[in-house]
């Protein structure tokens, strides 16, 4: 046996950091995904929140720009968690997990690494949109509202990792995960994310998966006010428990889809 020289031994922590570094580089380089997660939310904020004239009009404890800014940050965060969890599951089903199993990266560290990645990917669009917002006239009444809104944007994105995972488990392909991200645009529209809804549309919206997350993230600013379609229209309020029921209900549905997908996989 030849005794070949190997590199010095790495610790588990160093392996984890290097793994996350590679994962970040990989995901950053996948331009289409990066575009949707990092660029699109900020661009839409500029279109809907700044380019329109009402940006400086007050809305709750801030202005309309801030309201749109939070909406777009939510959109970016849910796309990020959907894409990250979905692609992680697809990678594993394609045997990449087995390849990694043969390395010094222990299972628990792999999961930790992927969670760090998902968090990093969810925080990035929120950070970018809020940064762009801060320089283009978005305003909250206090600094605390910046922090609490941004944190809520990331938090409401977390259940959507189950949504991405469900698609990956049910259809086992990267295309299915892209489709899941695509559906988020429709959910975003119905979830009162892009344009203020009213009437029947709003009644439908309450049952769609992005309605609760978006309203909750905007809660520090709106405290439940539904911004009407036309200025001067009657102001409606939404109660917190409707939002929590919406989030809880959809999280349960996503979890059930995951269980179904996982079961289908083992019975094959």
């Amino acid at each position: 046996m030849t005794t070949a020289t190997t590199t010095p031994r790495k610790s588990q922590a160093e392996i984890l950091l290097r793994f996350v570094g590679w994962e970040f580089w990989r995901n950053f380089r996948m331009l289409d995904a990066t575009f949707f997660v990092l660029v699109l939310p900020a661009a839409m904020y500029l279109m809907f929140g700044v380019a329109m004239d009402q940006g400086e009009m007050p809305a709750g404890l801030g202005n309309v720009s801030a309201y749109v800014m939070t909406s777009m940050a939510v959109y970016g965060a849910v796309i990020a968690t959907t894409a990250m969890s979905g692609s992680a599951a697809v990678e594993r089903s394609m045997g990449w997990g087995r390849q990694l199993n043969m390395t010094g990266l222990a299972d628990a560290y792999y999961i930790l690494g992927k969670m760090l990645m998902a968090l990093l990917m969810a925080v990035s669009p929120v950070l970018i949109v809020y940064l762009v917002g801060a320089f283009t006239g978005a305003q909250f009444d206090s600094f605390f509202h910046w922090i609490s809104s941004a944190a809520l944007c990331v938090a409401v994105g977390i259940p959507f990792s189950l949504y991405g995972l469900a698609f990956a488990l049910l259809f086992r392909s990267e295309t299915a995960v892209s489709a899941a991200s695509g559906f988020l645009v429709i959910f975003g529209f119905f979830g009162n994310l892009f344009i203020p809804l009213g009437g029947v549309m709003l009644d439908i919206a309450r049952f769609t998966p992005l309605y609760g997350p978006a309203m909750l993230a905007r809660w520090p600013q709106t405290e439940g006010i539904l911004i009407p379609m036309q200025a001067g229209a009657e102001v409606q309020f939404e109660s917190m428990w409707v939002l929590l029921a919406n989030i809880g209900g959809w999280t349960a549905i996503f979890a059930m889809m995951c269980v179904l997908g996982a079961r289908r996989r083992t019975t094959r």
Partner: protein, 307 residues
């Protein structure tokens, strides 16, 4: 360190693995010593992959135990003692060949210099190509490079040439041959008997989750039927003569017009010796069944074997 004898590369002790009602591996015991090149041969569904998965620490046996270099398989794998070329998949399409090697290297505790691994697996020529655009043979070279990264003492290859064309297959085995010469223990699963015969010192034949033969291909084919054909040139009755040397009547056919005698038995050498020394025949031929046929016979259920 070398006070006692080196531990076996793989020690499998009475291992059983079940998936629901299906018993994929039934009470298999097998010891593979360091430096051996062993082929795990058997048809699809014989339990080869299930057994190798347990050796690699991907799954646990329901009963029995497996040790790799006297360590738990999972531990041996994470420490880089085992290098594996996994069956298809196991790669990311968005990375290049070089990046894949670097990323997996980043996840190992220690590894060989990247350029050395690339050279040995012969991937330097297409290191900047995306995995998505690689041919089957190139992907297999890449998987091989990943397996070599930690300079492992044990290489496990699960159907390494499945789906490769003849040239790629030949190239792959040439590279493997060089690794065997370095003294690595190599275990490969295959359903090509030819490959097992050409590249392994020892063949372990599996069927329906059990080891049914273990040895060299020559040993395994020794008991198989061969057919002796010759032209009978004596006045003695050929059938009576054959019976007198211990051949049963149903193993003999004699064509009176052509004076052609045919005897089918595992024991053709002894009979040929008698025939020649007594000067009873000429134009002797002995035909051994092809290795593929032999393998086919061995992996059939006994009741299906034609007499």
């Amino acid at each position: 360190m070398n006070i006692s004898a080196p531990p076996p590369a793989i020690a499998i002790d009475a291992v059983t693995k079940r998936f629901g009602d299906l018993t994929a591996v039934k009470n298999v015991s097998l010891t593979i010593h360091q430096g051996e090149v062993v082929a795990l041969l058997g048809p699809n569904g014989a339990g080869k992959t299930t057994l190798l998965d347990m050796v690699l620490g991907f799954s646990e046996p329901n009963r029995g135990a497996i040790r790799v270099f006297d360590r738990a398989p999972k531990r041996a794998a994470s420490e880089g003692d085992i290098g594996a070329v996994l069956q298809d998949g196991g790669l990311l399409d968005d990375l290049t060949v070089g990046e894949t090697i670097k990323m997996i290297a980043a996840c190992h505790h220690r590894h060989l210099p990247i350029h050395e691994v690339m050279q040995r697996a012969d991937v330097t020529g297409f290191a900047t190509r995306k995995v998505k655009k690689c041919s089957g043979g190139q992907k297999q070279r890449l998987r091989f490079a990943l397996a070599l990264l930690t300079n492992p003492h044990l290489l496990i290859l699960d159907e390494p040439t499945a789906g490769l064309d003849a040239t790629a297959r030949k190239d792959f085995w040439a590279t493997m041959h060089a690794e065997a010469k370095r003294g690595r223990t190599i275990v490969f699963a295959t359903h090509y008997l030819r490959e097992a015969d050409d590249y392994a010192d020892r063949v372990v034949l599996m069927r329906q989750g059990q080891v049914i033969a273990d040895g060299s291909v020559d040993d395994m084919t020794a008991d198989l039927q061969r057919t002796l054909t010759a032209q009978w040139i004596s006045d003695v009755d050929p059938v009576a003569w054959a019976v007198s040397v211990g051949v049963s009547r149903d193993q003999i056919t004699y064509d009176h017009q052509l004076q052609r005698l045919q005897i089918t038995t595992p024991d053709t050498d002894r009979i040929a010796g008698h025939l020649l020394s007594a000067g009873l025949i000429r134009q002797l031929t002995i035909v051994q069944p092809g290795v593929e046929e032999a393998f086919f016979t061995m992996t059939q259920d006994s009741q299906e074997v034609t007499p």
